[in-house]
Symmetry: C2
Subunit: 118 residues, 2 copies
């Protein structure tokens, strides 16, 4: 059994929109990531997308103008197939869970994402 301290993992990198794998759960990558600015609208056709905010504030925009703004200790699971866009006015730190190798953009034409493990 291995303890994972999320703040220590987040201190190991400074890039944005660059998930780093910290654990594995039943074939899913458990990741930490830093957001700032806007990510493109996208969807994941075959998987839900799990976001838990650790620090800062993140808005998830839906295609239809629907939006949720999440702070620390708040989570949202975006259902598979739903177009969405994460954005953060200032840096936010997030726990993400997605199936291993899922592209960040959800684009199935892309090769599996190579996400570093820390």
């Amino acid at each position: 059994m291995k303890k994972v301290n999320l703040a220590e993992k987040l201190a190991m990198f400074s890039t944005h929109w660059d998930p780093h794998v910290v654990a594995s759960y039943n074939g899913n990558d458990v990741m930490v990531v830093k957001f700032t600015g806007e990510f493109p609208f996208h969807k994941h056709d075959t998987t839900d997308d799990f976001f838990l905010i650790l620090e800062g504030e993140v808005t998830l925009d839906g295609e239809d103008g629907d939006a949720v703004t999440l702070g620390p200790g708040e989570l949202c699971v975006v259902p598979k197939g739903m177009i969405h866009r994460p954005r953060a006015t200032s840096e936010a730190k997030v726990l993400l869970i997605e199936p291993k190798g899922e592209p960040n953009s959800g684009d199935s034409d892309r090769p599996p994402a190579t996400k570093p493990t820390i």
Copy 2:
């Protein structure tokens, strides 16, 4: 898209060792739970077991004397098949992820656990 505030969900019940479902991720229950005292040693034969500490301190004991103690912002994924026991000297609040219906005790002879959704 639905925002889940974990502190608000945890304020809705006071029982211990009684996970409440707050979201669903690809057929997994995302749950909040309060621990105090010791849970029996057990294992889950077919699934990993995800623990993220939200408040307080939790020790996960392994059968062989191996133990990890986790505080807020720390997580551990107990691999499937590994005998373990969560314990907490005082109340701790935890985010758990397990496949829908998995018994808390991992006992496959029991019917699927009926965990309330809040």
